[in-house]
Amino acid sequence: MGGNAMQPLANITPLKSVPRAGAIEVRSVGQVFKTSTQDVVALSEVSLEVKPGRFVVIVGPSGCGKSTLLMMMAGLRQQTSGTVTINGAPILKPDPDRVGVVFQEASLFPWLTAEENVEFPLALRGVAKSERRAKAQDALRLVGLDGFGKRHPHELSGGMKQRVSIARGLVQDPPVLLMDEPFAALDEQTRMTMGDELLRIWAATGKTVVFVTHSLTEAVYLADEVVVMSPRPGRMVDHLQVPLARPRTYEMLSGDAFGRLRDRIWRHIKKSA
């Protein structure tokens, strides 16, 4: 206890020996919803390669299928066509060994304390109590919540809750962390702080992160690469590299390079609206 907040996940040993960072490959993935009157194409021919350790942000207006795509990577939804593989093996159902998921707000169980929430994935696999607790405490320390383990979610702020969610996603040390609009419900200031926190955690753990958002600023600020999607049907319209230096700073937000990237994304989105 009482360690510094920057401590990496070094003492969290993986349950299986898997690489710390994963490679994701999405190959011509499509999704069609059948309704009684017509077939709705939610995703059309999406292909994407994410290299290990990269921070990739998927951005687009609502209805562009960005969350659907993420849920496919998580094995929570099956595509109609195409394949999704992580570290060479297809994802057919949720696989907590390979993927940790961080959801939008309010995904913590309110009847469990913060540390019990973080322990939840481990409890499902019957990991012994003491080991569970130790790993949960390491994960909470990593996200800067040392000492908050005994609190229930309703006793935590929105930002703290999402820190707990991130800790839960990381507790099994998966090579890939998928994040579905995790900061969407937070106020602007908290959102900025959480972005910096996430980048710090990412740097400390070296995970591959795929992050979905509808905020252009958030996308450019966080990402190595931004994938832009448009709706009806959901498809990829751009895939751009973000050449900004790391660590990212608040000053970059007003710089020319940042503005150009954001404008380029905005033009795509405006066109599809």
């Binding site: 696989d95 907590p96 959801f103 939008q104 995904s107 169980f109 309110p110 009847w111 994935p121 499902l124």
Partner: protein
């Protein structure tokens, strides 16, 4: 809670008993119809000493608890299965509302014909009085479990049994406790009504016969006794409910 509110409540209860005492003592209400509160409470003390009354209480308690122990798990299971299957839920839910709206007491003569007068008749009628509210509450409880929680469980590889025990059950707990509390009211009403209607023992039977014999002191003492037991049970569950109210949506 503010102390003032609690005091006000106690004051109201004391006032009711004081008014009761005054009306009877002053003769404004015929004391033969309304014996004084103090006499009634003294009679309650005496009754509780009597072996026959204790036996009646034990009989009623066993009937109530048996009916409850049968109706709650059975009703919860049926409610869960209904809510889990959307098609089945659509078909059955209105029918449940129909069944729920019928006064259960009109079926009491049938229970006597089928089960005879005795333990099975009371338990059967208690069960029948309780089951619909348990099914309906459980269905509601299942439906209000957040999809997000289920998705989280799925993404971390939870089995169906783990999802049921670790997500559904705790998530439903606040609503289930409320259901438990309300179904106990229905259950108690059912059993006591069955006892008053046709029985050889049980506290409901005792209360009915005190009434028929114009033993007002005993009758009112019985009323106070049953009321106290019911309130105590209700408050006990309510206390647990408040402890998990923070995850109620």
């Amino acid at each position: 809670m503010a102390l003032g509110i609690k005091l006000a409540r106690v004051a109201i209860i004391i006032t009711i008993f004081a008014l009761w005492e005054a009306l009877s003592r002053s003769g404004i209400v015929n004391p033969r119809l309304l014996p004084a509160a103090s006499d009634t409470l003294a009679m309650l003390g005496q009754l509780l000493q009597r072996a026959s009354v204790r036996n009646d209480l034990a009989v009623t308690a066993s009937e109530v608890l048996t009916a409850f122990a049968l109706a709650v798990p059975f009703g919860a299971l049926v409610g869960f299965l209904i809510a889990e299957n959307r098609y089945f839920a659509e078909v059955v839910k209105p029918l449940l509302f129909f069944a729920f709206s019928i006064p259960k007491s009109i079926f009491l003569p049938m229970f006597i014909l089928v089960f005879g007068v005795g333990f099975a008749q009371k338990v059967g009628f208690g069960f029948f009085s309780t089951i619909f509210i348990v099914i309906m509450s459980t269905t509601t409880a299942v439906e209000q479990v957040k999809v997000e929680y289920l998705t989280v469980a799925r993404s971390y590889g939870a089995t169906s049994a783990q999802t049921a025990l670790r997500v559904y059950l705790p998530s439903m707990l606040p609503v289930l406790l409320e259901a438990l509390r309300i179904s106990m009211i229905f259950n108690l009403t059912g059993v006591i009504l069955a006892e008053m209607y046709a029985s050889r023992d049980g506290i409901g039977h005792q209360i009915a016969s005190w009434g028929e014999n114009f033993q007002m002191k005993q009758l009112l003492a019985g009323v106070v006794m049953i009321a106290t037991i019911a309130i105590a049970f209700n408050e006990g569950i309510r206390w647990v409910e408040t402890r998990c109210s923070h995850w109620r949506t």
